[in-house]
């Protein structure tokens, strides 16, 4: 992963000092609550239901073992023994004390980490493919570009107080795994007809209250100009985005109001002034940033006979390998997904001991490198085939080898009403109830690839709009209900799900999911995934089944 130089380190250290002083002034009464709030938010610090919540940046999901051990230490010392991986690849702690936060930030700075701009109306953590640098379908490694965007957006003086939050994602592979179509800016690394590298730029995607798929504003921006172009987008947004209504303040609303052609024209006009300006990138800078990634140098290895034999002989291992092991660009290596979705655990949670244990696994088997995913799992990017059996056994011992990646129980869920002050309804118990219903592994394998995403409110941290099945917590006269969508999808052909009908009580949710799955199983063609069946036959058959099953509950017989 990227290694700080003295300049990176100084900026983070200066932030620690700045925030320590701000916290001191707040506690001394020199800063009002209203004055302190945006400052603490830009340090990832929320005041939540039970305590402050601290969101720590994991730039484009990259971590090393030393950082994991620090996170484990923080979980043990300042929290209640666990942390949570978010859908922006970040890590949250739900129980720190406000006056401990400066110390926590100091510990993080010691391992090149921070909480900068993980909340607030500023440019947030840039996200990317968790398999960046190792994916077999990768065209260009997005990580150096992510790092360049991270540095450009960190404490940008002009864009710290935008109308609303601003999220950027970068994709460099054939299959987009960074959900760039639902970001404020989605950067897609492409080559033009002349073979030159550049970016296709999407703007105005987003989930939340008004879900919108981002649209192409530029088909090709040469790589040298990408920061100038982003600066142009941000300047148009900073000046013209709505500030009168927080719900209409995201750039997607501005793009919709102006229309894509007019928005693009304004950006081009601004870009004409900025083009070839000081932010113009140089090959030397790209090379320098790329050279600071201390990736392992891998040479192709022969196929491992022991691994193949075990696949044939050991059903449990084969199941894990099938779901949790992915092809690597270098022969003889694989990428491994450690599942943070075992039964009965909040999706994305890691205990302090698990942080340490994953660090140990990374050191022994994966060159000390770990990735967090927006699906709230953990990836060991480069593992020798010959080590997979041993890794599996050790991961199993610490509860991180559930063979369910991409299956129904690999649920994305926000922290929801158990923790979050914004939530209308709980998310985690719904995820757990669905996991309980589908506890037969053979059946899960038979159902195959499916994504269930749960958000506890319309802010959509659980990305429910792009779940094959999306579940949204809503408030109905003070009671918690759940609205269900189907047909959402992430990836190259991203789509927003359609609502199937009136919402459900929490207790009904496992039955609702069962009815949806039963419909799929009845209707599917051979080897057709759930999402493909929905796309082929539409919402209606699913809807009919779900609400038919539900009828007796709605109108109980009078006895």
């Amino acid at each position: 992963m990227y290694q700080y130089d003295e300049y990176d380190q100084r900026i983070v250290d200066e932030r620690v000092a700045q925030f320590a002083d701000q916290t001191r002034r707040y506690l001394a009464g020199e800063l009002s609550e209203d004055e302190f709030r945006p400052l603490r938010l830009q340090n990832g610090l929320y005041i939540q239901r039970h305590a402050p919540m601290l969101r720590i940046a994991v730039p484009y999901g990259n971590l090393n073992s030393k950082q994991l051990r620090t996170l484990g230490h923080i979980a043990r010392t300042f929290d209640r023994g666990y942390g949570h991986i978010t859908t922006r690849q970040n890590i949250q702690f739900n129980w720190p004390r406000l006056d401990d936060v400066p110390e926590i930030l100091g510990l993080l700075a010691n391992v090149q980490m921070h909480a900068i701009q993980t909340s607030g109306n500023c440019i947030r953590n840039v996200t990317a493919d968790p398999f960046a640098g190792v994916a077999a379908d990768e065209i260009v490694d997005p990580r150096p570009w992510c790092e360049i965007v991270r540095q450009w957006s960190t404490f940008h003086p002009e864009f710290a107080f935008l109308p609303r939050k601003f999220k950027i994602a970068v994709n460099g592979a054939k299959e987009d795994r960074a959900v760039i179509q639902v970001h404020d800016i989605g950067l897609d690394i492409v080559h033009n007809a002349a073979g030159e590298l550049g970016f296709r730029v999407l703007v105005g995607g987003g989930l939340g209250r008004t879900p919108i798929i981002g649209e192409e504003v530029a088909a090709f921006v040469p790589w040298q100009q990408i920061l100038n172009y982003c600066e142009a987008i941000l300047r148009v947004y900073n000046q013209h985005g709505r500030r009168d209504n927080a719900y209409k303040a995201r750039i997607k609303i501005l793009v919709k109001a102006l229309g894509v052609p007019e928005f693009a024209r304004q950006v081009e006009e601004e870009f004409a002034h900025l083009k070839d300006g000081p932010s113009t990138l140089t090959q030397a800078e790209i090379d320098r940033v790329a050279s600071r990634f201390d990736d392992p140098v891998l040479s192709p290895l022969a196929e491992d006979a022991g691994y193949r034999a075990r696949l044939a002989d050991d059903k449990a291992f084969a199941a894990w390998a099938r779901r949790n092991v992915r092809a690597h660009r270098v022969a003889g290596y694989a990428s491994v997904v450690l599942s943070l979705k075992p039964y009965g655990v909040a999706p994305g949670d890691l205990t302090a001991d698990q942080f340490d244990a994953v660090a140990d696994l990374a050191d022994r088997y994966a060159f000390g490198e770990v990735r967090s995913t927006h699906e709230q799992n953990v990836v060991l990017a480069s593992v020798r085939e010959a080590d997979l059996v041993a890794l599996w056994q050790e991961a199993r011992a610490i509860g991180l080898a559930t063979p369910n990646i991409g299956l129904l129980t690999d649920i994305i869920a926000c922290p929801g009403g158990d923790f979050c002050a914004l939530a209308n309804a709980k998310s985690i118990p719904i995820a757990n109830a669905i996991q309980d219903r589908f506890d037969k592994l053979d059946y899960l394998f038979d159902i195959g690839d499916i994504e269930i995403n749960i958000s506890g409110c319309m802010n959509a941290c659980g990305h429910h709009h792009v779940g094959h099945i999306g579940i949204l917590g809503v408030d109905k006269n003070g009671a918690e209900f759940y609205q269900v969508t189907i047909g959402g999808k992430q990836g190259n052909d991203a789509a927003l799900g359609k609502v199937i009908g009136p919402s459900f009580a929490a207790a009904e949710m496992p039955d609702v999911i069962s009815a949806l799955i039963d419909t799929y199983v009845d209707q599917r063609h051979d080897d057709e995934r759930f999402i493909d069946t929905v796309r082929r036959i539409g919402v209606e058959p699913f809807k009919t089944r779900v609400y038919a099953d539900r009828q007796p509950q709605r109108k109980p017989a009078h006895v």
Partner: protein, 184 residues
Amino acid sequence: MSDKIIKNGRVVVDERLTVALAEGEAAADIAVPAGRVLVPLAVWQTRRDELLARARSGELGVWLAAGEDAATLAGDLEALQVIALHFPKFTDGRSYSAATLLRKRHGYKGELRAIGEVLRDQFNYMTRCGFDALQPQAGRYTDAQLEAALASIDDFTQPYQHSVKDPLPLFRSVNRAADREAQQ
């Protein structure tokens, strides 16, 4: 409580009356007080000829509300010695872009003053965007607090980006590659 401001990195007395149009008042009609004043853009545009000499002497400056287009002053920058940009709330960041545009695109060299909800925790960003005068609301800080707040201007000593204050981004202003070689 202090009614001083920060100018070019020092705490000074530099009072200016900010004239605002009350509801129903027309730019053409209001009395512009004598002495050091800041007038709204509409007043300046309506009565430019009348006010030009006072502007040239630096006695009179113009203030822009957040969101008012800085480019409308592009033709007046040679005459104006003082321009102020208003922050209705410190979380309203529009005036950072206006400041950057005035300095970088339009080449404004005179005093650029931040007025409105101007707080020390934004001094670093403000000065980097080209503000050389920072005027917190009267009474927000004590003299001692304002002196202490000078330190915030330098919260980040070598930021990544280019800005009005730093004409080049870090990757162009220092040789970061050399730094790495030195470490190895």
